[in-house]
Every structure is written in C-alpha cells, then in structure tokens.
Symmetry: C2
DNA sequence: CACCTAAAGGACCATATTTGTCTTATTTAT
DNA sequence: ATAAATAAGACAAATATGGTCCTTTAGGTG
C-alpha cells in the first residue's frame, strides 16, 4: 500500500542528479537518463513537467538541456513527489467535505487526515539538497 | 498519491460495521453490504479474506454469516488495511536489501523508511473498537 | 434423507492506470 | 542553413482496479 510509482522514483532520481552537478551546469537529458538509469523519453516528460512548475529550467536547441530552477535547498521532496504523483491523499474524502456523504459522522476520516499530515511533515522536511549531499559517494 | 483503494475503504467500513453489532451477533453479508453501501459480492470477497487470517469468523449454511474473530479492541486499523492492500510500503526498496542496487548509498531510502514508520505508527494506534465507537450516531 | 440457506471459490470482464515508445514540431547556437 | 536539443502529442502493451456471475461446499431443518 501507498507505493510510489516508477514515475515518482524516477523523478526524484533525476532532480537529485541535477542537484549534484556544479551549480549553473546544464545537463543533457541523455546524460541524466543514463546516469540515473531511467528510460530517456520517460524522464524527459518528467523533467518537462518540472519545468512547467519552475523547479527546473530547460533550454532548447544546441547547447540546451536541464538545470535546477532554484537552489536545491529550496526544493522539497514533497514538491517533487506531488508534482508527479499528485497531492498526498491517503483517502479521497480528504479532498473536501461532501466527497463522501459519511464524512460528517465518520470516525475513520480523521485518521486519514492524520496520516496525511505525518507524511507531508516528513516530505516537507527533506530538501533536494539534503538528498544530493547524502547520497554522494 | 498513496490513495487507499475502494477495496481498502470497503474493508474498513465492513469490519467497523461488524464491530457495531451486539457482540456474538452473526450478520448476513447481504445486510452488511447494504448497511455500508458496498457491492455485495465484492464485500464478500473481502470478508472471506479476513476470515482466512482470523480477524473475522464466518459460518456457512442456514443461520450463517459473519462476526468478528476477536474483540474489536484487539484488531488494529493497520491489520485491516494491510490485509487487503498489502504492507505499508511507500517504496519497493523497503522490502529488503538488494531490491534496488542503489540502496547502499541512496539518501532517499531512509526517508521512505521514516514515512513508513510514521504511517504504521498511526494505523497501529487505532483499533476497530475506536472507530466503531467514534462513528456511532 | 431431501431441501433450503449461506458462504467459498473460481472464472471472467470492463475500465483505468502505469510505463513506456514513436513521430513530429519548435527553438536555439553556430 | 543546419544541426542540436527539448516540447508536444499520439499511440500501445502490461498491469491493477473494481467489479460480476456461476458453481461448489457446508450447515440447518423437517
Ligand atoms: S467512510 Fe469515512 S473514511 Fe471512508 S471515505 Fe467516507 S468519510 Fe472517508
Ligand atoms: S534509488 Fe534509493 S529510494 Fe530509489 S528505490 Fe533505490 S534505494 Fe530506494
């Protein structure tokens, strides 16, 4: 239960790799994909979606590639995960009142809320910088 | 991300309903399914899987049905969820060393371990009795 | 015993999601 | 111009989800 998909796993690997390069360096998707062992076209989509929300920057054409959109210390693991997997949502009913007609009296509802909070807490507390530093050889 | 499936949601509703009946009472699947608003045959499969691991008891034939296999106070939400959704596992690599060849140096790995622990902690801390009591009218 | 009741088991199926690939634009540097 | 890259979008195989339906087995009852 609660498994991260490949997409999520790949997304993290990709952005952590970017954070391990010298700041300002632009990396080719082909290089990144090989380094983190992810199918190139798949990773391309992921990084493109990151570009849309600004956590990476992309440059087209000759000399192009990808780099971080802001300092790794200001990108949280939560942002990365939610960007590709959607919000942390242990149960649909957390979306808003009325999603489940039982939510008024339901005793389970608050438990999911708590699970959500705990997970968010952990993921918010980890930055890509932390990860990049920790898993260097 | 991390969404409970219908099966998980239904499983909880079903067993909480059982816990709300008078102890010892045997309930028909048809009654339970209607009460908790779940397709009957689907719920039947779920309760059958519960019967296999002992958290509910089932009786066949005339006068048969389902009841809890042990006091609601000794059935945790975690057991119920894991019974139908599998272990709480935010990432495959938590299964064991060697699942991912990067797990030795990987800095992300421990984060997932922590997420797992937090979630397990919450779900272990809630019993079906708690839920049954809380969501009574 | 015969018969009814109810769960158990298994085959099946429709739909959605995951995990990609491939092709065709665009953009940019030289 | 041309070559180098990403962007966008269509497509598709594999898997997971969310069920249904039918037959079998077990247990009561007269
Ligand atoms: S029954 Fe409770 S836990 Fe389940 S979806 Fe509704 S509000 Fe949420
Ligand atoms: S790279 Fe790290 S987090 Fe990802 S699967 Fe491997 S060990 Fe786990």
């Amino acid at each position: 239960m609660m498994e991260l998909t490949r997409k999520g796993e790949y997304a993290i690997r990709g952005i952590v790799h970017l954070a391990q390069l010298q700041p300002g360096k632009v990396a080719l998707i082909s290089e990144i994909a090989e380094a983190v062992d992810v199918p190139q076209t798949f990773l391309a989509k992921i990084l493109q979606s990151f570009a849309k929300i600004g956590i990476v920057k992309s440059f087209r054409g000759a000399g192009g590639g990808f780099m971080l959109g802001r300092p790794a210390a200001r990108i949280t693991l939560r942002e990365v995960v939610e960007a590709v997997e959607g919000p942390i949502l242990p149960n649909r009913c957390l979306l808003g009142a009325g999603t489940c007609e039982r939510d008024g009296t339901c005793g389970v509802h608050p438990v999911w809320r708590q699970v959500q909070q705990r997970v968010v807490e952990v993921l918010d507390g980890v930055t890509i910088e932390d990860l990049a530093a920790r898993d260097k050889p």
